[in-house]
């Protein structure tokens, strides 16, 4: 139900741009105004969300420790899983952001006869997630060839690497295949695994369909239904330099691709996709476990009602005296 809702939402969006271009000829709106607006929403929204998060303080230092702490000098400690200082924490975060360290731990619990609980290694989600994010990054970076003129050398280098196998004409990019496969996997696991289906919301399916739509239209344009690539580049460079030229020959497929990207950008700050920024702020990961070494200050700390020693002794003095215990006041 939620999956269908998201799927239909993406179809409607596609229909909007299709008729917008084909029937109404709104090329300037879809080619210039919406992209600018989407980027503006993305930037402002992203910054707003980050600021909103950082406005809430971190009252306590609560890292989740995943290895031996630094304690006695002869005990080997685990720098990256239980960082004692700033540098090691950067290392831990790098592992988390670049390689999805925590997801790599994933296991699958199974209850067998006996009963015997076994926890099998389960790296598919890690692999699928890593493949998805890295291939997307490469695809995004490759797109710099549209926005910058002349094309920077590193983009050529990246393209060559990505098309390493030199199969097909135009040469098939590995990242394209990986991206679409990974998106499909991430979608299918939500539908196939009953637990995941149970927890999934429309806001989980929508970005997948959106990304899938962007990927499919991109692949169609590159490999099957050629569009006016010169016009696309003119528009892209124009958008970046502030002098956009709307291509008149470029087909509707390009506009669908562009519009879905715009929706993604505009949707980003309001959605779970903000995990991209949020992961850097996660207090269970980005703090060193130096709790007993360095005092952490809670900015909103306030005094609380306590039961003082004096009050306590007043209540129990007689009995303490009988028991021969030391007293402040006889």
């Amino acid at each position: 139900m939620t999956a269908w809702f998201s799927f239909i939402a993406v179809l409607v969006l596609t229909a909007v741009v299709f008729f917008g271009i084909e029937a109404a000829g709104l090329r300037f709106i879809f080619g210039v105004i919406i992209p600018y607006a989407a980027v503006a929403v993305f930037v402002v929204g992203f910054v707003y969300r980050i600021l909103k998060w950082t406005k809430s303080p971190v009252p306590f230092r609560i890292p989740t420790t995943c290895g031996q702490e630094k304690s006695l000098p002869w005990i080997k400690y685990n720098k990256l899983e239980n960082p004692p200082g700033a540098l090691a924490t950067v290392g831990r975060m790098a592992l988390e952001v670049l390689l999805f360290r925590s997801l790599f731990r994933n296991t699958k619990a199974q209850l067998r006869d006996g009963p015997a609980l076994v926890y099998g290694s389960s790296k598919w989600l890690w692999l699928g997630g890593l493949a998805f994010h890295w291939s997307m990054l490469i695809v995004v970076l490759r797109h710099f060839r549209f926005f910058v003129d002349p094309i920077p050398a590193w983009v050529h280098y990246l393209q060559n690497l990505d098309g390493f196998f030199q199969v097909g004409l135009p040469i098939i990019y590995i990242s394209d295949i990986v991206f679409l496969t990974a998106v499909t996997y991430l979608f299918l696991r939500r539908v196939v695994d009953s637990k995941l289906r149970y927890i999934s919301l429309a806001s989980d399916y929508f970005p997948l369909f959106l990304l899938g739509g962007v990927g499919v239209t991109g692949v169609l344009m590159r490999y099957f239904l050629k569009v006016d690539i010169v016009g696309v580049k003119d528009l892209a460079v124009g958008l970046v330099t502030g002098h956009p030229v709307v291509p008149e020959q470029t087909g509707v497929l390009f506009f669908i691709h562009l519009f879905l990207v715009c929706v993604l950008f505009a949707y980003f700050p309001f959605s779970k996709l903000m995990h991209m920024g949020g992961i850097f702020l996660s207090p269970t990961r980005n703090l060193a476990n130096n709790n007993r070494v360095k005092r952490h200050i809670n900015p909103w700390d306030y005094d609380v009602k306590v039961h003082t020693y004096e009050e306590w002794e007043d209540e129990f003095r007689d009995r303490m005296k009988e028991a021969g215990m030391p007293l402040e006041k006889e």
Binding site: F5, W53, K55, S56, P57, F60, I62, T64, T65, C66, Q68, E69, S71, L72, I75, E96, F100, S102, L103, N106, T107, A109, P115, A116, L117, L125, G129, S194, K195, L196, Y198, I199, L201, A202, D204, F270, K272, G278, L281, S282, P283, T284, R285, N291, R292, V293, K294, R295, H296, I297, N298, V304, V306, H307, E313, F316, R319, M320, M325, P326
Partner: protein, 539 residues
């Protein structure tokens, strides 16, 4: 254990496939054995908490204050502004499901709302509705729903079915910590007087007398004296253990169960024997006679109120530093909160072991050292003589307690001590120990008979790992360094692996400790004969 408790072979018939309808359309059943009773008004009042009243979760009418909804939503707003963790964890979950089968309660119950992701969604759904634009407009489609009495009841059921063990946060790619969400959700429930007796009563006791059990100072003194008598009987040595003594070098704080409950008590004897043997200049305090802190299971504020006694007493007694006993959540509070809550401890000195001269640099601000760090250092320096063969009648395994493992990283010290005091030590499977350790299923204030079925369910993963080493290596002793573990694991073992006993790491130290002037030892602290000395034990 009650008669009507479900039998183990029935309990393990668990279906992990969530049934229809969706989670927003199901309500929890407050079935006996699955929930905890409401707090009695007397203790709610004693702690000046809001809306004391007589109520039970099984009542239809929970007698909520008229403006309960405003109170909760305002409370949520305030906490979103105070805790980055909360705001972030409300926003960034992608529901990837990595946490789903990491929760001991989910593994033991199959209840989909025990998946950490869904436990958090119970709160998130309300957050979305009232604090996000998408939720206001799109409602259910984006997982938003109104706060209703039923939602509140659901919160009560499931946030008192989370032991704040943080296992899920180890596996979460963003480190989302359900403990943090549960702590704050419980704070919200407290605002309208929905708290449980098993937490509020110990907290009230602790506030008044200094410990959760409500033992008054003279009773504390009696307990210590009693232990000294027992120790004399076992070792033949009469030792001393000062209470409230000013000018001692070290204040020693233990969870109250150590001196009042079985099997904690044998670990307590171990501490006393050890301190005597090394001639430690220390004191107990009857005022700070609780290291544990049920305040943590209630609210950040209550945690601070109860924890304040430790530094206050250290100051009054004029000690140099503080040593802490074996306890799980106690060490979460001491390691991650105490200095922030009630510090700075600038009136204390950086802890230095008077025996070995080791400076505990890792505790130089908080000035409190874990007994396992202290003892491991003693052993390493050859400061005590241990005869591990005295534990040869035991085949031991070690259960990492959640908090020392995941909120501290105290993994090697207890293992080092065990290896030096026992000859037969066997680790449980890799995915069930260290940072991946499974909760006893009874932590965070849930270790009572009231919710016994849920406890046996939640304890299944731990018990099953114990069963594995029991079957394979003949393990008969489950060691741990947590007072709640020691209180609740025996029940769990009786249910799942009856042949296994539960003990303290320092019980092993006590058994193995060769003391100057001791009588010929033939039994361990529990009176069980040692291997090769059975004949003598009978004499």
């Amino acid at each position: 254990m009650s008669e009507d408790l479900i039998k183990p072979d029935e309990l393990v018939k668990i279906d992990y496939r969530p049934a229809k309808p969706g989670w927003m359309d199901t309500k929890p059943q407050f079935r006996k054995g699955t929930f905890n009773y409401g707090a009695i008004p007397k203790n709610v009042e004693y702690l000046d908490l809001p809306f004391p009243r007589r109520w039970q979760p099984t009542d239809d009418d929970w007698q909520l204050p008229e403006n309960w909804k405003t109170i909760i939503l305002e409370g949520l707003r305030e906490r979103l502004d105070r805790f980055r963790s909360l705001r972030l964890f409300m926003d960034i979950c992608v529901r990837c499901g990595a946490c789903a089968d990491k929760c001991h309660y989910f593994i033991g119950s199959g209840d989909p709302k025990n998946m950490p992701v869904l436990r958090a969604e119970l709160l998130r759904s309300v957050y979305r509705r009232d604090f996000t634009t998408a939720g206001k407009i799109m409602g259910r489609m984006v997982g938003a729903r109104d706060l209703t009495v039923d939602v509140l009841k659901e919160w009560f059921y499931y946030f008192y079915q989370c032991t704040e063990c943080r296992r899920c946060s180890v596996f979460c790619p963003y480190g989302i910590d359900t403990a943090e969400i549960t702590i704050i959700a419980r704070e919200l429930l407290n605002l309208v007087g929905l708290c449980i007796d098993w937490i509020v009563t110990p907290a009230a006791n602790c506030f008044r007398t200094g410990n959760h059990l409500g033992i008054q100072p003279h009773g504390f003194q009696d307990s210590v004296n009693f232990a000294l008598d027992d120790l004399e009987e076992i070792t033949g040595i009469r030792i001393d253990a000062p209470v409230n003594r000013k000018g001692a070098e070290i204040l020693f704080v233990v969870p109250s169960a150590d001196y009042f409950a079985d099997p904690h008590y044998y670990g307590f004897l171990g501490y006393l024997a050890l301190f005597h043997e090394i001639g430690l200049d220390y004191t107990f305090s009857a005022y700070a006679s609780e290291g544990g802190n049920f305040g943590l299971f209630h609210s950040h504020e209550m945690m601070k109120r109860l924890n304040a006694k430790i530094y206050a007493e250290a100051k009054r007694l004029g000690v140099k530093w503080i040593l802490g006993g074996e306890c799980g959540h106690m060490w979460r509070v001491i390691h991650q909160y105490m200095d922030t809550l009630n510090g700075p401890a600038d009136f204390l000195e950086v802890p230095v072991s008077p025996i070995t001269g080791t400076r505990f640099e890792n505790a130089r601000a908080t000035k409190m050292v874990h007994i396992c760090e202290f003892t491991a250092d003693l052993i390493r320096h050859g400061a005590i003589k241990l005869d591990p063969s005295r534990n040869d009648h035991l085949r031991v395994t070690f259960h990492d307690s959640c908090n020392p493992a995941r909120a501290m990283g105290l993994l090697e010290e207890p293992r080092y001590i065990i290896r030096k005091s026992c000859n037969n030590f066997f680790e449980m499977p890799e995915n069930t120990i260290r940072e991946k350790t499974f909760c006893c299923g009874s932590g965070a204030g849930l270790g009572t008979d009231e919710n016994i079925e849920i406890r046996m369910r939640g304890g299944l993963p731990r018990a099953n790992a114990v069963k594995f080493v029991h079957d394979r290596y003949g393990v008969n002793m489950l060691l741990c360094i947590c007072a709640i573990d020691k209180a609740t694991l025996p029940t769990l073992m009786d249910y799942w692996v009856p042949e296994v006993q539960v003990g303290a790491v320092h019980e092993m130290v006590g058994n193995a400790l060769v003391m100057k002037g001791e009588r010929d030892r033939t039994t361990d602290y529990r009176g069980n004969p040692m291997v090769g000395r059975e004949d003598k034990a009978d004499e």
